[in-house]
Symmetry: C2
Subunit: 442 residues, 2 copies
């Protein structure tokens, strides 16, 4: 949508809201629809080509308004998460469908998704061990539980361990910053020999530091054999899996119990929108289900409906699936693929530019929209360069450590980025580099 259309459509939306409020007394306070009303009114998957804004807005009046906030909010979310799951070609087991045991839910952040998965896994292992040995207390079990991630995992994984009150151990990644079977198995054997209980593993697809990928096809089967919950955190990289040429990065997801990525990062859905799927929704729901009378409703024992309050930490929730519905329809799957591919192409363009300058080196494989690079030389030199870049305030880079190296990260992430921005940025960095090296010689 260009700026002109945004102005026109935005103003129509303002009138839509005002009209709604002016006419609210004419609307029913409680909907007439029955649970499950929405799915048959909506296609079973996202459109390939864009729909018009007009069509979408008409559908809001026709499909959403009769279902009001409830059950429309819940039902649209379930269907949108199925749409998105199909776009990623997630295994059928993760979809809700009409009768599935899995399904998706919108969380606020990947941190919350990781925490929910860890808590569900914790409840599950505690119940299993207590069923086998009724004398065991929860405290005695929790002392022995161990969660795992690679040394490249996001800090929110460690935080989930602290919140959940369980140990988190870090598996050393390989030369490509990936978690591999051998390193995992070594730690598992040692921990089990010490009487500890491995119960949960987070595999990262697209790490924060350098967008590396844990080896799912290796660690997935180990998790299954060891009866450990496997959670996949693909917060950033997940969006790219809608392109067939990147889908192989998700191979091994079939071993996982839960999978999460953030459409708000790279799929044009506004913050916040973190998409999480589980294979067995009862694992998540069963973890902390409580049903006071003021939250009861007539359909809850029918098995017909989804109560998302059991799937998340907060009780209340916003109608976040609406923005997914609008974005998926306004871009179409092809439009979203085009957007992802453009970012990846621009990152590769930047990588080429870096490689042409012998003063620089590329520090990690460029798979998606992130380029890790540095000046050949000391960390101090690179820290000085970063200082110059960020002080100039024309572009902004966030650094990372890869092993003992201080590394600069060039991330393609703006909706409106073009080749010219990338080229100008590189020229700017080259110029600042030349200035820095000259200043150091003098």
């Amino acid at each position: 949508m260009n700026s002109g259309e945004f102005r026109r459509r935005g103003k129509e939306m303002v009138d839509f809201v005002a009209d709604y409020l002016e006419g609210i007394e004419g609307r029913q306070v409680y909907p007439d629809v029955e649970p499950g009303y929405l799915r048959p009114l909506i296609p079973t998957s996202a459109p390939e080509e864009p729909d018009t804004f007009e069509d979408i807005l008409n559908d809001v009046e026709k499909i959403i308004m009769p279902g009001a906030a409830s059950p429309a909010c819940t039902e649209l979310e379930t269907v949108m998460m199925d749409w998105l799951g199909k776009m990623l070609k997630l295994p059928e087991a993760f979809l809700a469908g009409q009768v599935g045991e899995g399904g998706g839910v919108i969380q606020g952040s990947a941190s919350e998704a990781t925490l929910m998965a860890l808590l569900a896994a914790r409840t599950k292992v505690v119940r299993r061990l207590q069923a086998a040995s009724p004398g065991l207390t929860q405290g005695a079990i929790m002392e022995k539980l161990v969660a795992y991630s690679s040394d490249q995992a996001h800090s929110s994984v460690e935080r989930a361990g602290l919140i959940g009150g369980v140990k988190l151990k870090v598996i050393p990644s390989d030369g490509k910053f990936a978690m591999r079977a051998s390193a995992l198995q070594e730690v598992l054997e040692r921990d089990k020999a010490e009487g500890l209980i491995p119960f949960f593993l987070v595999a990262t697809l697209g790490t924060t530091s350098c967008c590396s990928f844990d080896n799912l096809l290796e660690v997935g089967p180990i998790c299954n054999e060891e009866n450990m919950w496997l959670h996949i955190d693909a917060a950033y990289a997940g969006s790219s899996f809608i392109c067939p040429e990147f889908r192989h990065l998700l191979n091994g997801v079939e071993f996982a119990d839960s999978f999460n990525f953030n459409p708000h990062k790279w799929l044009l859905v506004n913050f916040d929108c973190s998409a999480m799927w589980v294979k067995k929704r009862t694992d998540l729901i069963g973890a902390f289900k409580l049903d006071p009378l003021y939250l009861k409703h007539s359909h809850q024992d029918s098995g017909l409906i989804t109560d998302y309050r059991h799937w998340q930490l907060p009780l209340g929730r916003r109608f976040r699936s609406l923005k997914m519905w609008f974005v998926f329809r306004m871009y179409g799957v092809k439009g979203l693929q085009t957007y992802i591919r453009k970012h990846v192409r621009l990152a590769r363009e930047f990588e080429c530019l870096v490689r042409q300058d012998p003063r620089f080196e590329i520090c990690a494989e460029v798979t998606l929209g992130l380029v890790c690079f540095r000046l050949k030389g000391s960390n101090k030199l690179n820290e000085d360069l970063l200082e110059r870049i960020n002080s100039a305030k024309k572009i902004h880079l966030v650094p990372c450590h890869l092993r003992d190296k201080f590394v600069l990260r060039f991330a393609i992430c703006s909706r409106s980025v073009e080749l010219t921005h990338v080229q100008q940025s590189w020229e700017h960095i080259r110029q600042l580099t030349t200035d820095l090296l000259r200043a150091q010689r003098d």
Copy 2:
């Protein structure tokens, strides 16, 4: 703001956004401001009388835009939470001010605030006990920890206990559905005699079922003596404390470690916005602080700035203080007080109407905007009445249990509610009651 002005201002906002996006290349990618830039640009408390929309929008360009998303998002939140704290006349210790040890943060829901408080309290007691007895494991301590709330507390308190992996015990409330010292002390003595460790108590101001108030002046000192963290959940009632005539309901807050209420429930701020204050921000921050390089920044060791990511469960956050700023200025404190008072007046009006009909009884003291009532007679009779009311779909009531009684709840909560709606609702309920009683006789 009436409908006509909403149409005009809404459309101006659409243009504001489009202008911003069209001119974005002319803006700096990183702000020039220094931490702490914002507070001196904004009054120290909310205005009594409304500001104009024009003034507010001008301030967005003048005050927010130069600070971009960071640090403006954080700094406006700290100042808005101070404004709101002052509106409630919270003790100074809860405010951030320039040098305070306390401060406020916007959470997504009261559930998350309760959970954060419980987790911070858990970390604090574990550290204290381990410092005294270095041999003690976290698991050994956690097995003995006990959290408390009244039997009227919201289900999210029990859920926080499950998530935190600690026991939660329920204190029987008194005849007015309030937690009192005697009942609390009885349970505490018994638990301590059994070797358990009381560490956390949630007092509720304005319970979900009947808007009762735990006796803070009684239970607060006990929490302090016993070295237990006192968290106050005033999710609904908190908004009313901005009126001097309701502020006494908050007396005893000085004993608390943390306090929370939801401006999104009753203070005209859109969902979600849950306001939480702590007396010692280090208690919250210290609980799970992690600092990977990609989240480091040049000001973090200066003590000058607030890193809200340590105050909450998610990492990312939205700019929710903007809506507080707009609402507080567009209504002024007086406008918000008028809004609260109108709801309370309408609830009392409904209570009067109920009391005039001898077929009905009032089931709990009406303090704010909730009226608990029922037909004199069996629970079955009241369940049938509720079924008729909700099936008619003219109004919608959510019931509760008070002890063994099934009770109907009439809640004043719409922004646009008027006396005529209350009167019509009551006439509607009376008519359905007459129909029900006639049908039962026949």
